[in-house]
């Protein structure tokens, strides 16, 4: 059981590196969507007996992270008529190297933190920290609004991964609230991207510079 889980978490970590390395926006979106789907299946693997609430969380996560949000992003992409991230603030190879370094750092940090015996063998904690940091790098190293939203999505995926440690103990409201709020956040970001795109045709956030000292 924990072997399959670790395999999937490793896959998710690889997907965030893939997102860091790719220059085409559709493949960044695809990486984030696939990562979301992989993470969505994890709650089903956590327990021998599947509680119906956990099943709902899993199905909801796969639907939202794997389909709805990526579709919104693709729609924004078509509307903006771009498919390539040119001139990133930080090149693709440097950001990939930074991401790899962050993954190693996350593993080192996670080994310092004490874990409960049932989590000791899993990659959940290093996987979560690595994904959060990779998402953050994507968020700050790219100039196109859609890449930044993908970065935010990957960052959220990392937090979701961490939340799995607590899925059996935190009460229902926290679970529901987390799902609802995180998705709404990206929805709103999506709408804003849509609006920004009407104002700034290229979706280049570097053009958002009239407000400064």
């Amino acid at each position: 059981m924990s072997g399959t889980m670790n395999l999937l978490i490793g896959l998710a970590m690889g997907l965030s590196l893939l997102a860091l390395a790719s220059s085409r926006l559709p493949s960044v979106i695809r990486a984030a969507a696939f990562q979301g789907m992989v993470l969505g299946t994890l709650p089903l693997l956590l327990e021998e007996k599947i509680h119906w609430l956990v099943a709902i969380v899993a199905v909801g996560t796969i639907a939202v992270k794997g389909f709805i949000i990526p579709n919104l992003l693709r729609r924004a992409l078509r509307a903006a008529n771009i498919d390539r991230e040119v001139e990133p603030l930080l090149g693709f190879v440097p950001s990939l190297l930074l991401g790899a370094a962050a993954t190693i750092g996350a593993a080192a940090l996670a080994s310092e933190l004490p874990l409960l015996p049932e989590h000791a063998k899993s990659l959940l904690v290093p996987g979560a920290f690595a994904t959060v940091v990779c998402g953050f790098i994507l968020l700050i190293a790219r100039t196109k609004a859609i890449s930044q939203v993908c970065g935010y999505l990957i960052l959220e995926n990392g937090i979701y991964l961490f939340g799995l440690l607590l899925i059996n103990t935190t009460p229902l409201l926290v679970e529901a609230g987390i799902l609802l709020d995180l998705t709404v956040a990206v929805f709103v970001i999506g709408i804003i991207v849509d609006r920004i795109q009407r104002e700034f045709d290229t979706l280049d956030t570097r053009k958002l510079t009239s407000l400064r000292e």
Partner: protein
């Protein structure tokens, strides 16, 4: 029951506002909800309810110490809002009014939340509902401000969720049963696992610190406050930041109970002084009087963080400062909005002579700046004095010196800009638009009320409020 109504009434009226057919009468729903909310908050302040053990939300001493201020701030801003939305009748106000009311509802929920998860949900909802308020003006600059707000604020709120998870895991690893109410986390005390506790504090301080606007996570603030309508700025500077400060205080209480008191105090002091320094430097240079208010807000958030780092007396003073800063800022944001509308610009190279164009607003603005930069007998003077006394009590001479130095430079920076826009000859742009924007009582009385409240807090702080702050400070910093 009444504490539940504080959340339910704004949300119900928000639903009503969404369905309300008439653009002209819809803004009146704001003072209706604000009035009911203020009456309830005052009632609860005078007669606090008995707390139910283990409940997820409740009107505890900390909520009692700050929630009435947010309620009062909203009420006065909502009266201004009626006049403002009449002036701005070319913009549709359905979303604006609804979002303001939803924001009040979620602020009330967040201030009363007794559970780590519920607090986060409410904070996240407040973040999202602020976005439509920021791009009310619909300009390219307003879009830019909302985009930056959402990106920075969204990342901050995501970090605070990760921090909440870490704190939850600290409790679980230390033998907890997954109960994330603050009372049970405090009761767990030293059994919270230390490495997780430190990770949680770092992430939660960074996350809620972003929401509060502590430097260096303050970058959304100048853009958002510069582009938002004045009343939204007032509510952000007095309401949302207060919520984030309360969140930090609640988390600090848990970390302190687990034996991390030295760490929380040192980090808060460092962040607070750094915020004051950054704000003072930017205040010396900024040419834009609405962005100036944002940097001043960064400065005052720094002051709150410093206060929170100074033990019981410091926390008492910080709660006092929440009131004086929030209400004084209200006067400034509202009068700055009036000046901005009449001048058609907000930088010192385009705006001058506003004492002739908008005599009442310009006078309120000048007096408000004096009040905010701690001129006696306004409230801010006394609350900052209490914080300085607390630094002496805890023997932090370096902190006291840095604190006073930053205050002095902030005063220079603000006085420079304020007199540049108030004095001199009106510019051509202002002469062209000045005539049709008269200063009606609807936009003058609310900021005057704020000034009066600030004065009242300074001259005669009601013993009711003093007791409320003492009760909250005793819980947050129990003296052995």
């Amino acid at each position: 029951m009444k504490e539940f109504l504080l959340i339910a009434i704004p949300l119900l009226v928000a639903g009503l506002a969404l369905a309300w057919p008439n653009e002209r009468t819809r803004p009146w729903l704001l003072p209706v909800a604000g009035g009911l909310h203020a009456v309830l908050a005052l009632w609860l302040l005078i007669d606090p309810p008995v707390l139910i053990a283990g409940a997820w939300f409740g009107f505890d001493p900390l909520a009692r110490a700050v929630l009435p201020m947010v309620s009062l701030l909203f009420l006065v801003c909502s009266i201004y809002g009626v006049a403002y939305l009449q002036i701005r009748s070319e913009r549709k106000n359905r979303i604006f009014v609804t979002a303001l009311l939803v924001m009040l509802g979620f602020l009330s929920l967040a201030l009363q939340a007794q559970n780590l998860g519920l607090l986060w949900v409410a904070a996240e909802a407040t973040t999202l509902v602020t976005v439509p308020l920021l791009h009310f003006n619909g300009t390219a600059r307003a879009f830019e401000a909302s985009w930056k707000y959402l990106l920075v604020g969204g990342t901050g709120i995501a970090l605070s969720l990760l921090g909440s998870f870490c704190l939850g895991y600290a409790s679980l690893h230390g033998g907890g049963n997954g109960d994330l109410t603050f009372t049970s986390l405090v009761a767990q005390g030293a059994s919270l696992t230390r490495p997780w506790l430190i990770t949680a504090w770092v992430l939660l301080l960074a996350g809620y610190g972003t929401k509060m606007g502590l430097a260096p996570m303050h970058t959304w603030k100048p853009d958002a406050y510069g582009e938002a309508p004045g009343m939204v700025g007032a509510l952000l500077a007095g309401g949302t930041t207060t919520m984030a400060f309360v969140a930090i205080l609640r988390v600090k209480q848990v970390v302190d109970a687990a034996g991390g008191g030295a760490m929380t105090e040192r980090t808060l002091l460092a962040f607070g002084l750094f915020s004051m320094l950054v704000a003072a430097l930017f205040l010396l240079g900024t040419p834009d009087f609405k962005r100036m208010l944002a940097y001043s807000s960064v400065e005052h958030m720094g002051i709150l963080a410093v206060g929170a780092a100074l033990g019981g007396a410091g926390i008492w003073a910080a709660l006092f400062h929440v009131w004086t800063n929030g209400l004084t800022k209200g006067a400034l944001f509202l009068s700055a909005g009036n000046i901005r509308r009449a001048a058609g610009a907000q930088t010192e190279d385009k705006v001058a002579g506003m004492a002739w164009r908008t005599p009442a607003s310009a006078r309120i603005f000048v007096v408000g700046i004096l009040a905010l930069t701690a001129c006696p007998p306004f409230g801010v003077f006394f609350s900052e004095l209490k914080i300085i006394l607390a630094t002496f009590q805890t023997n932090q001479m370096f902190a006291a010196t840095a604190f006073l130095g930053c205050l002095l430079f902030a005063f220079f920076g603000m006085a420079r800009l304020v007199f540049a826009i108030v004095d001199g000859r009106p510019r051509a742009a202002a002469r062209a638009t000045g005539k049709q924007l008269r200063e009606t009582p609807g936009v003058i009385v609310p900021p005057l009320v704020f000034l009066a409240l600030s004065l009242w807090l300074g001259l005669a702080t009601p013993s009711l409020l003093r007791d409320a702050w003492t009760a909250a400070a005793n819980i947050l910093f129990p003296t052995p």
